[in-house]
Symmetry: C2
Subunit: 344 residues, 2 copies
């Protein structure tokens, strides 16, 4: 079964987040049949490792769960494309993992294959890093998330904050007795409208930040001057800033109002200067791009493991009913990773 | 029983909106006992009229219902104040109506006493104007709503409109692919922040308009550039504008966006130049003030009857648990109205 056929088989075994059990069982069984791998299962995460005593260990990571099926199963082929739920995100990547795991009995680098579920409240990688950190040891990680078979380095961090503008209630018939918090929130929007995004270069990749209002609410009643208006902003920050620095920056932009940080996720530097990463980039070819969205590479980064995204899927169409993968990209990814893993 | 004692009795017979029946029954009974009045009952509205064939007929109007009791019953006297639910709004006014109705067997002007409920969905005045318009005929009306025993002329109109700002969704990690509707709503807030209220003089009274955001909402998710932001505004307009003109004005302020008019209530000119009103003002004394909030005078105005607010209560403390009325104002209102009604 080639990579495309294996992808189709994986896609036709639905594994919507929360229901990954049967597919994980099948994957575990297939990996356990391979004598050159040691296999570990934790919930719906499966980790399979070569133990050849190589000086370097790399991790190929992926997830088996998908967004809800949207009338796009079973999979179907049209020209060079394989359509269906999870084709791009990321069963094509899992297929490459499994093909490499089965075919590489004695790679030049030790390899850890990690297949898990990613839904936030039961993130397998996070759980493994607590339960069995030794399984995640490694010098470099490749997340096989959709990246159109190009290297996407690092990822930007993300922070959400609420800016609270206060006013004073009054009846609208005598509005000058109060102070309109919604009107005053105009000054917060002025800051957002005047914002110029940073575009710093980090480890050779140019990132592009963003600061956006993602929510606004205010209002008491149709005849009341409102005394509160809350603006929620989302700051996407380049990986040269820590989450703390990002929070400090957002506070500095809105000095006149209380700023409440709702959540922060650190980004990850691309780390492409490190030897394993540089060899990976050379083997794979192309021009690495910065990853703007937040991905699990940040979790590896937090574990001290440089990581990149590299997978055959297409991120732009992930989570859409029309999701597909270009089948030649599956073979291309597999071939290039095989070359790299066979190096030393 | 003087006016203050009668007010206390009315207050101690609770009549929260929807439960005005027992008090209305008592009022109807008292009025029916007076041979110089003809009495009409419609739901919880009671209309009592003298029919002396005088050349002029005036209306004294009031409502018997109150806001919910807030631990402020039974009534209690403290110094010159009578405290309790409905004292100011407006059982003190009803007491004046009833004292005049009982005491003036042969006034110089025919008088229509109108006691009803005002809650919006069962407004007695509106119902009477449909069922028995002849009962509401008159040359001039005095609404005995709380006005601190000063004449409040006319009332401002009120209009609510929703201004919809459109954008284009995008992931916040690539926000430049979209257009942030909340940011763009800053331009709507700019108009509101730059707004200078009109203060036109209408029939000798100077009004003061207001234009306020009373609601704002926008936002799709914490990682999405929002494609919609709705700003709801409330325009309080002087009675030299019709509701249609007010709507036109609001549209003209926001030409770049769709403006949806949610509701409009016309205001009412004070009409203090008309003979009955001028004599009323002379008899009552003081300097008439413009009424900025919307009141039922607008309903009389719509029936072609000039109307003012004049009552012993205090509007600023209406609807508060600490509501009270100054008892001397009850006697003062009654005396001045008696003088006026006895004129010709």
């Amino acid at each position: 079964m080639d990579g495309a056929a294996l992808t189709a088989w994986l896609v036709d075994t639905p594994s919507v987040s929360g229901d990954e059990g049967p597919l994980t069982d099948a994957i575990e069984g297939a990996l356990r049949a391979l004598p050159h791998l040691t296999v570990h299962r934790d919930g719906n995460a499966v980790v399979a490792r070569t133990t050849l005593g190589r000086p370097e260990r790399v991790i190929l990571a992926g997830h088996v769960d998908t967004v809800p099926v949207a009338g796009n199963l079973p999979s179907r082929v049209e020209g060079t494309r394989l359509y269906g739920c999870g084709t791009s995100d990321m069963k094509a990547g899992v297929a490459v993992q499994l093909r490499l795991a089965a075919g590489l009995a004695s790679p030049g680098r030790d390899v850890t294959y990690d297949c898990e579920e990613v839904a936030a409240d039961r993130n397998g990688l996070l759980r493994l890093s607590h339960n069995s950190p030794e399984l995640l040891a490694g010098d470099f990680a490749v997340l096989m998330e959709p990246s159109s078979a190009e290297i996407e380095g690092g990822c930007q961090g993300t922070l959400r904050a609420e800016i609270m503008v206060a006013g004073q209630r009054a009846h609208t018939a005598r509005s000058w007795m109060g102070r309109n918090a919604i009107h005053d929130a105009g000054a917060v929007l002025d800051v957002l409208r005047g914002y110029t995004p940073r575009e710093p270069e980090v480890d050779g990749l140019r990132y592009h930040e963003g600061l956006n209002a993602v929510g606004i609410r205010g209002g008491v009643a149709g005849n009341v001057v409102p005394d509160e208006c809350a603006v929620t902003v989302n700051y996407r920050f380049a990986p040269d800033l820590s989450g703390e620095q990002a929070a400090e920056y957002v506070r500095s932009l809105f000095p006149a109002w209380p700023v409440r940080i709702l959540d922060v996720a650190d980004g990850a530097r691309p780390g492409l200067g490190q030897p394993a990463a540089a060899e990976f980039a050379a083997a794979v070819g192309g021009t690495p791009r910065p990853k703007l969205g937040w991905t699990d590479v940040a979790r590896f980064s937090a574990l001290g493991i440089p990581a990149v995204n590299y997978g055959p899927g297409i991120s732009e169409i992930a989570h859409t009913p029309g999701e597909y993968v270009e089948m030649p990209k599956i073979a291309e990814c597999e071939a290039r990773l095989r070359t790299w893993l066979n190096g030393s």
